[in-house]
């Protein structure tokens, strides 16, 4: 992205950045039905179908188009613009943040109560589910057409108040919506998608609390940030992005390579950004911040090749050495193939070198420690890492379990940390529609606790 020189308004200037983001084969995308409630993170590969809230399309039909809005016509994506759709179909195309179940008894504009018979009559529909399904299979039949057929098929539609009519159309349009947004992944979109997909594995970490962590942790370019991330790579991704290639995101991980960080992979960071990413094995931390001696080359090579085979998609570091996406070997490749072993050995050497650099960064002194824990007691991390934090450095602990944060708070207080803040927060989406504004009737209510503190020196440690 380009910075614009200040001093003048740029009316009718040419696009400053012609690199409009384009959907390419194999790229990650966040897919959401317009007005839908769920978003999916998918990798768009040739020959794959994408299914989102009962709407199915062929991934391949998106390739080459810019990220954005599409209509699904017969399983193919057709690029659309908001302007065109509004011209063609009228109304607003956006129906996010609307309660699906918000039906019930309601009044008309004149405040008269609608007799329940009017509501019950909603089921008196001439069209059967099969007929609707049949209609939608035919090419070129848009949601709008389906809904207008439904309206004419409704025995009671005409007798409704216009408020009720509006509601009916909105609900039906939502159900038969055939528009889809294909968006380039961002931390915000991934956080929401993974929370919905499996809130437990995402550690119940919402975007507001993730944002708070980054902010209280003062994560910005140049800083050396150690991350313990048990939340699908959400924190690691956000930190790496904020560093913008300058500084260090030192990511602690189990096993040989960083794993269980799908968010990180979906972000498809550029090599420039990835240059600030340093995966370090927990083994090293437990080994006195030293890489452990090789135990057995045999076992290790085996693991390394397994990694190449199984974790290819998961390993985020590979891009560091190559500008172009790696062409992964097919299933046919054999573990004993010498060429394959050479690749593995090189990868390993690079990995170890990178890890050594990460360990060196730790020794220089950390500016921030971020812990996003699900099962690991934060104190167990702090007792190893706190001494590596520079004075005036920030530590932020997130956990869905309050006890984790309570113990960490006591631990930090005992060591003289200041500006210790423990908080949680309510997060609620409001439906904003004419005459129907209220918080959504039902939402995901999970969340966690954020503990922030600042390390100082010169304070005598408190006796406990």
């Amino acid at each position: 992205m380009t910075t614009i020189e200040s001093g003048t308004s740029l009316e009718s200037a040419a696009p400053l950045d012609a690199s409009m983001p384009v959907i390419t084969e194999g790229c990650y995308a966040v897919v959401r039905k317009v007005g839908g409630e769920h978003q999916r993170v998918v990798r768009l590969t040739a020959n794959s179908n994408v299914l989102v809230e009962k709407l199915r399309f062929e991934a391949e039909s998106a390739f080459g188009h810019p990220f954005g809005l599409f209509e699904v016509i017969g399983k193919r994506l057709v690029p659309a613009t908001v302007e065109d759709l509004r011209k063609r179909d009228g109304g607003d195309i956006d129906m996010a943040a609307v309660d699906a179940e918000n039906i019930g008894v309601c009044g008309n504009e004149n405040g008269e109560v609608i007799a329940p018979s009017a509501i019950e009559a909603e089921t008196r529909q001439a069209l059967t589910e099969e007929q609707i399904s049949e209609m939608k299979k035919g090419e070129g039949v848009s949601a709008k057409d389906v809904v207008s057929k439904l309206v004419s098929g409704s025995a009671s539609f005409a007798s409704r108040t216009s408020h009720a009519k509006n509601k009916y159309i909105r609900r039906k349009t939502k159900k038969h919506q055939d528009r889809v947004l294909i968006l380039k992944p961002t931390i915000r979109l991934l956080c929401e998608a993974y929370l919905r997909k499996d809130h437990d594995r995402a550690g119940c970490l919402r975007i507001d609390q993730l944002s708070l962590m980054l902010h209280q942790g003062a994560v910005h370019i140049g800083r050396k940030v150690l991350v313990f991330d048990q939340v699908l790579g959400l924190i690691t991704s956000a930190v790496t992005e904020r560093l913008a290639g300058a500084g260090s995101c030192i990511h602690l991980h189990r096993g040989t390579v960083a794993q269980s960080i799908p968010c990180f992979n979906s972000m498809e960071f550029s090599p420039e950004i990835l240059s600030a990413f340093y995966p370090v094995r927990i083994d090293c931390i437990l080994n006195g911040f030293q890489q452990p001696a090789e135990e057995g080359a045999e076992k290790d090579v085996k693991m390394e090749t397994e990694e190449v085979e199984n974790e290819a998609d998961e390993s985020p570091t590979e891009k560091l050495s190559q500008q172009q996406p790696v062409q992964h070997g097919g299933d046919g490749r054999r573990r004993n193939d010498p060429e394959w072993a050479a690749v593995a050995a090189q990868k390993k050497a690079e990995r170890l070198q990178r890890e050594a650099a990460g360990l060196a960064a730790i020794e220089q002194g950390l500016d921030t420690i971020l812990i996003g824990s699900r099962s690991v007691d934060p104190c167990s991390l702090l007792s190893l890492l706190y001494s590596k934090l520079r004075p005036s450095g920030n530590v932020v602990v997130y956990s869905p379990t309050i006890q984790h944060c309570m113990r960490a708070q006591q631990w930090l207080r005992e060591r003289g940390a200041i500006h210790v803040v423990l908080s949680d927060q309510m997060y609620r989406v409001q439906q904003v529609l004419p005459s129907r504004t209220h918080p959504l009737m039902s939402q995901m209510v999970v969340g966690g606790y954020v503990l922030a503190a600042i390390k100082v020196i010169g304070t005598p440690e408190k006796k406990e």
Binding site: M1, T2, T3, I4, S6, S9, L10, A13, P15, L16, D17, M20, P21, R32, P66, F67, G68, L69, T81, V82, D92, D94, A96, A97, L181, I187, R188, D208, L210, S211, L212, H215, Q216, H220, I221, G222, R242, A244, D367, P391, S392, M406, I418, H419, L422, S423, Q425, M426, R428, V429, Q430, P434, T437, P439, I454, K455, V456, I457, G458, T459
Partner: protein, 324 residues
Amino acid sequence: MLKTESTDSSSQKGAGIGGPSFVGLSELIEEGDTVIVYVSFGSMYPIVVKRGMSITMKFGQLRHEFLIGKQWGSRVTTTAGFIHALRPTSDLWTRCLPKRTQILYTPDVSLILSLLDVRGGSVVAESGTGSGSLSHALAIGVLPDGHVYTHDIDETRTRKIEAEFKEHGLSHVTTPVVQNVCVEGFFVENSCDGVFLDVPCPWEAVENAVRALSKPRGGRLVSFSPCIEQVQRTASAMREAGFVEVECIEIVPRQLMVVDERKQSLGEFNLHGDGEECAPGKGRKRKTPCGGKDEDGGTTTIVSPSTQPTHTGYLISATMLPRL
């Protein structure tokens, strides 16, 4: 309570990345650095270190000299106690900046950055500048090569933020502008990745926000409004202007404190009471009598203080898709 002898800090240093203060990460405090003088929780003062100056606080006086050459995070003695000299961060700045208006606080500020998808290199426009709480966070967020255009109708405020950005090493990524975005539009057009509105009638600025956003890249619009009536009009204007994914969020933070759990048996209570009778209305720190034996002294959390902010505003956000 706070009296500082130096209000004029015309020091011209700190324009580069890795410079002093907000972005720099030097080991020791130097002259010209902004230091957060941390007295206690909720009580801290920002100063620009300058030889010969001193700061007078409730609990003592501190000469700036004493800070120079000290490690960041050091405990420094004052005439009547001590302080900690902290490296400035966006979060701390929000807590102690000179308030010229109502400001946005850390929970909202941090979420706004995420809702705008701010990252290194982003171009962001903001209105109004206010006291610059969000402006600082945005400027730090777009480093090293993005840009923040911050608009306000008040020239005094604009000049002050300009000076602050200079002091904090953030000038090269920021452009403060005196401009009414509702009437005159934004300083740049077809350029931004994100636009943020905190104005009384945000709906009047929506069309101008569309013009400010980059056509090929698309972008995000976020608006902050305390009242629901503003939200309603703004959301309509956003939908009308072609935004998608219009969403309104409210967050309400809650500060918690870890305290000892009060726990006694019925017998202990019957014998000793709960310690309230002796000291009624004396706050939290009462000791619950439990007959000598200090059995399983667990801890628990309480919301503290008992009265807290319960609303700042609604955040409406929306996406403008790339336009050909």
